[in-house]
């Protein structure tokens, strides 16, 4: 299952959605809003998505992962809107028979999402805000 949602991500429900009798290993990766970036204090994050394309790009990534590793079930849930410190921005869950595949596939999915999926993150600081990594010359 792939989804973009404005609601808080329900980890237990996500886990339930990928459980099955053949699975011996599940890797769950959570990307969380942390309270600082390069020593600058973050108040909150704002995520924006080009929903239609973001979902189809995540589908491509999942399909590629499926071809490379024996994935039994997976889920990718990306949240958008305003997120506070400590909230989960993305959950990736991969169920496999053996643990090595779960770790590697999960890592591949998050790394590739960060490269290709049209979702944008704005860091809101005490004294300003900044679209992450958008402009030359900014951090």
């Amino acid at each position: 299952m792939i989804a973009i949602t404005v609601d808080p991500i329900d980890v237990a429900a996500a886990l339930k959605s990928i459980e099955l009798e053949q699975a011996g290993a599940i890797d769950l990766f959570l990307g969380v809003v942390r309270n600082s970036t390069q020593a600058r204090s973050v108040n909150r994050l704002e995520y924006e998505a080009y929903d239609r394309m973001a979902v189809s790009e995540m589908e491509k990534i999942a399909n590629e992962a499926h071809q490379r590793w024996p994935i039994l079930r997976y889920t990718i849930i990306h949240r958008k809107g305003t997120l506070q410190i400590g909230e989960i921005a993305i959950l990736i869950g991969v169920a496999t028979a053996h643990r090595g595949d779960a770790f590697v596939a999960c890592r591949y999915i998050i790394d590739t999402i960060k490269q290709t999926v049209p979702i944008w993150k704005k860091e809101v600081f005490m004294d300003g805000e900044e679209w992450v990594n958008a402009l030359f010359g900014l951090s």
């Binding site: 995520y47 394309m53 960060k114 290709t116 999926v117 944008w120 402009l135």
Partner: protein, 82 residues
């Protein structure tokens, strides 16, 4: 033939242009590269972006891809999901 193409703007491209979508006048046939040139002319601040890609109907497009008024076009500044 003269027409308009609607372009969706997200994240930093929306901030740089002040709009969440713009109508760009084109002469058909036109290509992704032509559209980008026009947008850079109208909004010079776009040059400050680390990268600027174009999506056509939800797929990343090359600069030589032909586009028309019925296509869904979006500018894709550097992504930062996850």
């Amino acid at each position: 033939m003269s027409a308009f193409i609607s372009v969706l703007l997200f994240g930093m491209t929306r901030d740089l242009t002040g709009h969440s979508s713009v109508l760009v006048p084109i002469h058909e046939p036109t290509r992704v590269g032509d559209l980008l040139s026009q947008l850079h002319q109208d909004y010079p601040a776009l040059a400050g972006l680390r990268t600027l890609l174009v999506a056509v109907n939800g797929e990343y497009a090359e600069v030589d891809q032909e586009i028309g008024p019925t296509d869904e076009i979006a500018l894709i500044p550097p992504v930062s999901g996850g």
